[in-house]
Structures are given as C-alpha cells and as structure tokens.
C-alpha cells in the first residue's frame, strides 16, 4: 500500500519521515547528517510549495490515512527547515544539553 496520496508517489523514498509526533521528527533531525537533511529538504520543499491548493482542500478532521501521513511528512519539512535555512547544523546553536519536549499535541 502506498504511503502517500497518488499525486505524491515521488515522495515515497522519504516515507520514514512521516512521523506522527514532533518529538520523533526532531529526534530524527538530530540523528541525521546535514547532507541527509539537505537532500530531504531539496526533494520535499518544492512539493510543499506547489501543493498549497491541494492541502487547503484536505479537511483537517476526518482526512484519509494517506493525507495524514503526507501532513506528517510536511511537518518534518518544517522541523528540517531550521537546520537547512538557518542553522547549518542539525542542532539549535548554543542549546547544549537543554531539551524542550512535547507532551501534548494534536494529530
């Protein structure tokens, strides 16, 4: 069974980024190299940029499983945009050992 809606089949190689929790998405970012993050960003960012109309047509409540996974994938792009667009490293600079952990989040 494909992970994403048919129109997004090209994103299948990045299916392991379709993670339901912000905490997991952030952990995967910290476990990745900048090359991996850049490759993910370069593949997924243009697809977000040209999918606004599609995403606006997906009702938040009651969306299909494929759309939910697509939403999680694009949520990972949000998490990955910081190292790629700003920090040039996976971790927030000067954040040391500090952590800020999600405890409640919507789907």
């Amino acid at each position: 069974m494909p992970t994403f809606p048919a129109a997004f089949a090209d994103l299948e190689p990045y299916a392991d980024w379709a993670l339901p929790s912000e905490g997991d998405r952030y952990a995967k970012r910290l476990d990745s190299s900048m090359d991996e993050l850049q490759a993910f960003y370069d593949a997924v960012f243009p697809r977000l940029a040209d999918s606004t109309t599609y995403l606006e047509g997906v009702p938040y409540e009651g969306m299909s499983e494929a759309d939910q996974r697509l939403l999680w994938l694009f949520s990972s792009l949000v998490t990955v945009s910081f190292p790629v667009e700003v920090w040039r490293q996976p971790r927030v600079p000067d954040s040391g050992a500090s952590s800020v952990d999600v405890v409640v989040e919507p789907h």
Binding site: L55, V58, V86, S98, V100
Partner: protein, 427 residues
C-alpha cells in the same frame, strides 16, 4: 531618539515608582530565600493549574504537582458538574491517592470515584470517604470526618486556579485591572493545543525575566531572521509600545511587523510558503473585537501582549488571534519545570495545520536558545563575583518582578513571629 512615547516621568521605571539603581539577584541564588518564597508566594497566591477543556465532562480529572507550594492536588469535575480541588492524599496512611506508575508524575483520566492503591479506601468525586476496607477493624471511625482535604479552587475565563490560602481574596479580584481588561477574549474558541515541557537549571524568576523583556531578542535570536533583516533589527534595538503594572501583575505590549511581513523576501523560504512564522499564521481567524486590555495603546504596529499574573502564569496574546501560556514551577532555588502551551483555533484543513506547526516549531527553537542561556546566567550569578546589575528601562518588568517578590516575602515575615532570613524590600 525614542520611537514610541514614554510616560511624563521620562521612563517607565520611574513611572511605576521603581528604583533606577543597579539590581540585586540575591532572591534567585539563595536556598533560604526560596524556602521563604514557597510559603510567602506559592502558598498565598492563586496558581493557574489548567483549563476547563481538561475537564470536559463529569468524572474527568487531572493531577498537578505543586512542589513550590509543598503539595500535590487533584482537579476533578464532580457528578454535579462542579470543578473541585483536593490535596492528592489518602486520609488513612497518607499515601498519594491518584497516580500511575510513578508517584511524582502527573496523570489524568475519568472515573466515578478515587480508590487508594494502598488499602483500597474509596472517595467520591465530592471528596467524601465512601468505603473503608474492613471498616469493623477500626476504632469508632467516623467516615464523615475523613474526607479528602479540599483546596480553594476557582475559574477565570476558563482558566482553573487553586489557592492554598483559605483566606485568599476571590480569584477575579486577585486578577485585578489587567485581568479584567482581558475578559471576553475568545480563549474558548482556541482549543487546538500543543504543550511543551522543559527542566531548566535556573531560578524560576530568571526565566520570567527572559520573557518579560525583548531587549535580548534582536541579539540572542539574531539568526532566526534573514541576515539583512537581522542587521536591521539590531540597529533598531528594542522598544516596547506600552508597559503596565497593577499590584503584583504586569504586562508589556510589543510591536511585531512579521505577520504578514512588509517584504516577503525578508522572511525564510518556509515562512513564505506556509505564510506563517513566530507570530503565527499571517492571516488568523476572525474572532471579533478584542477586549480593551489587549493592545492597550491601540498602536497599528502592535504584534503581541505578554501578561505576567504573579507569580508564575504568563499569557501571550498574538495579533493573528492565537495565544500561549507559560508556567514556571520551581523545584528548588536554582531549578524549575517550564511548561508552555500554544492554543490555536482548530485548523480547518491540512494547510492551516501546517501553518500552526511552523509557529509551534519556531517557538521551540527560540525556547531552546533561551533555556540554555539561563543556565549560563544562574551558574555565574551564584558565584557572587558581581552582586549588582544595571537594568535598562526596557527591563522594567524584571525590576518589578524581583521587587514585588521581595515585598511578598517581607510582608509574610512581618506577619510571622521569629526572624528567619533578612531580605530588603527594595530591588
């Protein structure tokens, strides 16, 4: 040359009758002072422990650790729909009544009665002791005298507060003029919630200090903007639109031109695509007219108001109609648990959900920078190498917080016989 008007006294600091001399942080590095704060502040003031949406129907409950106030509480909506609070403690042998797996971890759920894990004593949601295991083995046990110990509880605009002081004035009165100015804000519409939690190695007041001034923002968070925008922001420096104080509560009203930005090339690619950022989705939901306490100077460049309801509850209201809360729960003189919840109107579609995700994640990136900076501050002020620190007029709310905290402690000591630790009421 100031960009925004200051009061006639020439400064906000003098306007509020605060000293302009260097400030001491002896209230943030002393275990003895913290012990006084626990009784003088955290056992005397209304503490926000949650919102009514956490108790959606009869029988729902959640627990809250209040280490600073020397207790832990249960909040529950009883079978008549009334919200009640109790010390989380069985009357038999003092076991913590409601917990799962780890006694120090908070929990929530739904039930018809509370059953103690130890010997099976059972309490109704109104606090009555209903069942005692092998009751006949006890000696003249009057069950009516062994109900759960209640805690004063009240609700303001959907926010649930408790107060350990049975003599405390009513909550609404305690919220004062700043609270009254926010009544009617559509907190009830903004139910899409993200909560974060962090253990911070600094005194609780130091983190409030960081969030009650934006003087640091163009510097510490410089990289969060594009390079050109960042240089511009550092050149401007920071000035608030407005400050206000009512008793121990305080607020700062701030500009924020990023929602939407005047020039989209000034923001990051992800922000351009999602039309969102730190200030939230650029086009927020329509929630009608804002109450008079929001954007009190009615400035067109307004972006965000930050309210501190003393001691440890902050409310931040953003121009695109969403809000967040900060809570600082001390666990010792130099540690605390920081909690923040971001509340949005529920998204209508997947795109709106992503716009909110960007605001949430941006906030987290900032908080990681802020939290670590605080540990760096705490560790050095504890050396007492330097004991007096100059504060500028844009740091007026820090001066206010430390001043009123010392005043609460001094007043509490005056009301108590004995002479524990000396504190000066001035900052």
């Amino acid at each position: 040359m100031p960009k925004f008007n200051k009061p006639d006294e020439g400064s906000w600091t003098e306007h509020f009758g605060l000293a302009t001399t260097p400030s001491s942080y002896d209230d943030s590095i002393s275990p003895d002072f913290y012990e006084l704060e626990r009784d003088a502040v955290f056992r005397k003031t209304w503490l926000n422990v949650g919102r009514v949406e956490q108790l959606p129907r009869n029988g729902t409950f959640f627990t809250k650790e209040l280490d600073a106030a020397r207790t832990a509480v249960i909040l529950v909506r009883d079978m008549a729909g009334e919200i009640r609070a109790f010390h989380n403690m069985c009357r038999h042998r003092g076991n913590k009544l409601v917990w799962n797996d780890y006694p120090r971890e908070e929990t929530s759920g739904v039930c018809r009665q509370f059953t103690c894990k130890y010997h099976g004593w059972r309490y109704g949601l109104e606090g009555d002791l209903n069942f005692v295991q092998q009751e006949q083995e006890f000696f003249d046990l009057d069950k009516a005298a062994f109900g759960l110990v209640p805690v004063k509880v009240d609700v303001w605009e959907g926010f649930i507060f408790v107060n350990l002081d049975p003599e405390a004035p009513p909550l609404r009165e305690s919220m004062g003029r700043l609270g009254a100015g926010l009544e009617g804000y559509r907190f009830d519409l903004m139910t899409q919630k993200h909560t974060y939690r962090a253990e911070i190695g600094a005194n609780w007041k130091l983190f409030i200090d960081a969030f009650m001034e934006f003087y640091h923002a163009p510097v510490l968070h410089a990289k969060q903007a594009t390079e050109e925008e960042s240089r511009k922001l550092q050149g401007y420096g920071y000035e608030a639109l407005h400050y206000d104080v009512d008793g121990s509560h305080a607020m700062v009203s701030s500009w924020g031109g990023m929602s939407p930005p005047k020039d989209e090339s000034m923001v990051k690619p992800i922000e351009r695509v999602l039309r969102s950022g730190l200030f939230g989705p650029w086009e927020g939901p329509d929630v009608g007219e804002l109450p008079p306490g929001v954007n009190p100077s009615r400035h067109p460049a307004w972006g965000i108001d930050s309210f501190l309801f003393f001691p440890n509850f902050m409310l931040l209201l953003w121009k695109p109609n969403w809000y967040l809360t900060y809570h600082y729960w001390p666990t010792s003189y130099n540690t605390h648990i920081f909690e923040t919840s971001l509340y949005f109107a529920p998204p209508q579609n997947a795109f709106e959900r992503l716009q909110q995700e960007l605001a949430v994640v941006t906030f987290k990136e900032y908080a990681l920078q802020d939290g670590n900076t605080l540990e760096a501050t705490q560790s050095m002020i504890e050396t007492r190498t330097v004991t007096e620190f100059p504060l500028c007029d844009q740091e007026v709310m820090l001066r206010h917080l430390h001043t009123v905290t010392k005043q609460h402690v001094a007043a509490h000591q005056q009301a108590q016989p004995g002479t524990p630790v000396r504190v000066s009421a001035a900052s």
